[in-house]
């Protein structure tokens, strides 16, 4: 039976390896307070909150292609950062950049009657962009919460948000998101 909910928040890849990487540690620290506020707002209003995480094999092909190693299955670096505890919704493993790629997320969202999907987490210029594109192709309205998405560099984040506005969805400040949520 479909629930009455119509919005969901996807918290993308807030994992130790990615968040505490020296290149973006400060950016994550800045994004955490609004992110925790957003999670609390969604959960308090009964909206679905889903956390995604990478858990990659040690010899994953993308390590060769991108020259970086992160979130290896079973390592501490693959764990979500402790600041998110306790989790307010299900945890979903993903293998690739889009949160929909060979995951059950689409099915979970449909079972909950979701039509608007909000995105937070990192990184804006790859996993957030591709996930929002995928969401829009699947018929969802996709919204990035501006203060809650993270990139290592500000200009890269702005370019990514411009791309999102141009092609796949909206970018809203948290204050506006909570207003919309309360009005629904």
């Amino acid at each position: 039976m479909a629930a009455q909910l119509s919005s969901a928040l996807i918290v993308v890849d807030m994992q130790k390896d990615l968040c505490w990487d020296g290149r973006r540690k400060q950016k994550v620290a800045e994004a955490l307070p609004p992110l925790l506020t957003a999670i609390d707002a969604f959960a308090s209003m009964g909206s679905l909150v889903v956390y995604t995480y990478f858990a990659l094999p040690p010899d994953d092909e993308q390590f060769k292609r991108f020259g970086d190693r992160y979130c290896i299955e079973g390592t501490e670096g693959a764990e979500l950062i402790s600041e998110l505890a306790p989790l307010r919704g299900p945890l979903l493993r993903k293998k690739k950049h889009s949160v929909f790629f060979e995951t059950e997320l689409d099915q979970v969202l449909r079972e909950h009657g979701v039509d608007v999907v909000y995105f937070a987490g990192l990184q804006t210029q790859i996993c957030i962009m591709t996930s929002m594109a995928d969401a829009s192709f699947r018929g969802y309205r996709a919204v990035a919460i501006e203060e809650c998405v993270v990139s290592t560099r500000d200009e890269v984040k702005q370019q990514a948000l411009d791309w999102i506005r141009t092609y796949v969805g909206d970018v809203l400040p948290l204050s506006q998101v909570t207003q919309v949520m309360e009005a629904r």
Partner: protein, 341 residues
């Protein structure tokens, strides 16, 4: 009918005779049966008949092996078929070499071989021989090497870059970039794989009559690795010509544009597997585009530019006109082009 032998997997395809025999009898012969293959000789015999023949070969490696719109088998067949089409020939006899990883999922190889078999049946092409080898477990999982020969059926003047003249129009058969994006997205999970499909297709199945008889057609090339720009650079750098392209005329699907914008790629440099660039006498270009659209199903065929004498004292220039500004297109040397086919 031969007795079916138990399949020991793909180990020892190169060395173990029993293993190869099993694979040949169970997996290859039923799918590609023809007199020459059934002879199981070391060389195939061909009745070539009179006239000229075109011959080509190519090797195919792609990750993932199955992608939206095709697989490495369709890629291999269409790749050599489209190459032959540039000389107005169809693949009549083919040789196929399979390099198979020991741990390749059998259902994937079945899918690939089934696709190849279907294409052979539909086109009347015959795989008359080939070879198998093992790859160690891991990546790549499958490499296909394909050779093909076919009779040149062109009526009238021959085709080739040497026949392209200043004043010719450059015609494109359809949208560009979909193959690269479909493969890249399904490999990296970029979210576009649900909406972008490879354009992989055997173009000769539809446009051969036009290639055979059009008096205005001077040359054609399939825009595979390096895309449309690679074809144009190949022409201008080898024949001291200049090509001017109106970028706004080049058809690109919106989702492909989105992905290119995301990934910092130029759709003109992306590999296609079902897109042909034609060089056509300008007086016949409009009629050819109309025919491609209405008679041959290339609904987005269009003129994208023209060929000119070199105007800068040096050959090899491809000029891109965008928003009224003209710039010289640079040539990519490998790293900028995802190695997708």
């Amino acid at each position: 009918m031969s007795e079916q032998l138990p399949n020991p997997g793909y180990r020892f395809l190169g060395d173990g005779m029993a293993s190869f025999t099993t694979f040949f009898r169970n997996d290859l012969l039923p799918r590609f049966t023809n007199d020459q293959l059934a002879r199981q000789a070391d060389a195939a015999l061909l009745e070539t008949g009179p006239g000229r023949h075109a011959m080509t070969c190519d090797s195919f490696i792609v990750d993932p092996l199955i992608f939206p719109g095709g697989n490495i088998g369709t890629l291999a067949f269409c790749g050599v078929a489209n190459d032959l089409l540039t000389e107005c020939a169809r693949p009549e006899s083919m040789l196929m070499s399979l390099m198979v990883a020991e741990d390749l999922e059998p259902s994937i190889l079945d899918t690939v071989l089934d696709s190849l078999s279907r294409l052979c049946q539909v086109t009347g092409s015959a795989i008359v021989g080939g070879d198998t080898k093992n790859l160690p477990a891991g990546s790549p999982q499958l490499i296909i090497s394909m050779s093909a020969v076919g009779r040149v059926g062109r009526l009238g003047s021959p085709l080739g870059f040497e026949h392209v003249e200043p004043g010719d129009s450059v015609v494109l058969t359809g949208p560009v970039g979909a193959h690269s994006i479909a493969v890249l997205s399904s490999r990296e999970g970029l979210g576009f794989e649900s909406v972008v499909r490879s354009d992989c297709r055997d173009l000769g199945a539809t446009m051969l009559p036009m290639v055979r008889s059009s008096p205005h057609l001077h040359a054609l090339r399939d825009a595979t690795r390096g895309g449309v720009l690679a074809v144009l650079h190949e022409l201008t750098s080898s024949h001291d010509l200049e090509v001017v392209v109106d970028v706004a005329e080049i058809p690109v699907d919106n989702e492909v544009l989105m992905a290119c914008d995301l990934l910092g790629l130029d759709p003109l440099e992306l590999a296609n597997e079902g897109c042909m660039v034609l060089f056509v006498e300008s007086t016949g270009a409009a009629a050819m585009v109309e025919a491609l659209r209405s008679e041959y199903g290339f609904t987005r065929a269009c003129v994208i530019g023209g060929v000119a004498e070199t105007s800068h004292g040096v050959g090899g220039l491809v000029l891109l006109v965008r928003d009224g500004e003209t710039r010289v297109a640079s040539q990519s040397f490998g790293t900028g082009i995802p190695r997708l086919c």
